[in-house]
Symmetry: C2
Subunit: 214 residues, 2 copies
DNA sequence: TTGAAATTAAAACAACTGTTTGATACAAGT
DNA sequence: ACTTGTATCAAACAGTTGTTTTAATTTCAA
């Protein structure tokens, strides 16, 4: 049985999950080396297999741990009964921040983003449990902005247009820096970027809505 | 010296570059296995080192070969003196097709997209030589649509909003399929998608332009 | 204190993968 | 015919990396 006081046992488990979180997010499942993880966690290689049964088990534990750490849901965005345009602004700003800052609470978003673009064995679980709800929330906002006549298809296309813009700045970081050396990933500039994506997307939604009307 | 008649020598080189192109595009530099490449090319492992000096050399040859195969430039889009909005539609459609069809001519675009999101040692070369010109062309179109008062910054932000949308459908293929099971990567639907991204982005550009004006 | 269970640690292991080697074949020029 | 440079191939090699083993240690209840 696992010890109850803060001894080495649970400590090792936690330290492993902690450093594994960082390294999995940084390099992805495949490029993350167990040796690096255990070194950062100041423990032994075998500890991974002992506590988690292997690399995949450790990854699963990382997902579970970080899922518990942060409420992934974006429902606050829609629950505050603001205008749907404001809900969208909030959604975009929150999503971008989660992708681009180093907050521990944001780890789960980064893990999801990684799965979306670079699936592992946990893809189905992560998408089902996290990506789908996130998308549903955004789809709801899109629907509210586009109006009741909007097709499910345009709703989904618009959601993906927004997600695509946000993901680009996370996944193509190096290219962004090269194509726009002035661009900074500072919190202030991330807010400005969120504003741009929001303005751009609101315009896009208006165009798509009118397109339908005509 | 390499033989001049169509013997095995040049044949092996070409077969290697051909199968390497496919496999590098499919799995990326790191996950591409030399064993798989030489098997598909029906030759020996050592051939890679003999002809190209190693895996990196083969990758470099793949880049060079595919760069020569297809004119990457998008200038036709701006050279036909159409309205800038039409230039943008053309740009998006062409770019999307290059990312999503299996045309041999499209390989270079896929290699560039991969570098943007998953840089290798060839990143600087590829970006400098290919991504920058592509972006410059798009920036020019953005500038034409946004008007002469548009800041360089909004021009770049808008370009990246467009690129981000396009890349999403390539890199997040599996997630797209899951989040929208009806979505098809058929040529016809790619055209429809290009229309959506164009409509959405045109609306976005209008909004950004007005935003400046106000 | 003692003994069983849990945990940690180092080393051995096995699979994978890019590279090198050494042998061989072949074509072309002398 | 002989030599030389080119090309191919199988096998050996070396580095990396996840896993297993086996022994040592720690913890905790009796």
């Amino acid at each position: 049985m696992r010890n109850l006081q803060p001894d080495q046992t649970t400590d090792t488990r936690l330290r492993l999950i902690e450093s594994a979180s960082e390294i999995f997010i940084e390099r992805g499942f495949k490029d993350a080396k167990i040796r690096d993880i255990v070194e950062q966690a100041k423990t032994n290689r075998a500890a991974v297999n002992y506590h988690f049964g292997g690399k995949e088990g450790l990854y699963a534990a990382v997902l579970q741990h970080n899922a518990a750490l942060a409420i992934q849901d974006m429902s606050p965005a829609v629950n505050e009964a603001r205008a749907p345009e404001e809900q969208m602004r909030f959604y975009i700003r929150t999503f971008l921040k989660r992708l681009l800052d180093d907050n521990i609470q944001s780890r789960m978003s980064k893990l999801i983003a990684r799965e979306v673009v670079e699936p592992t064995a946990a893809f189905d679980l992560v998408v089902e449990q996290f990506a789908v709800p996130l998308h549903k929330t955004l789809n709801g906002i899109m629907h509210a902005i586009l109006g009741p006549n909007a097709s499910e298809e345009s709703v989904r296309r618009c959601s993906m247009s927004i997600i695509g813009q946000c993901l680009y700045y996370q996944r193509a970081r190096r290219a962004v820096q090269r194509l726009d050396p002035d661009f900074s990933y500072s919190p202030a500039n991330i807010d400005r970027l969120a504003d741009h994506i929001s303005d751009f997307s609101l315009g896009g939604l208006r165009a798509v809505a009118q397109q339908r009307a005509s």
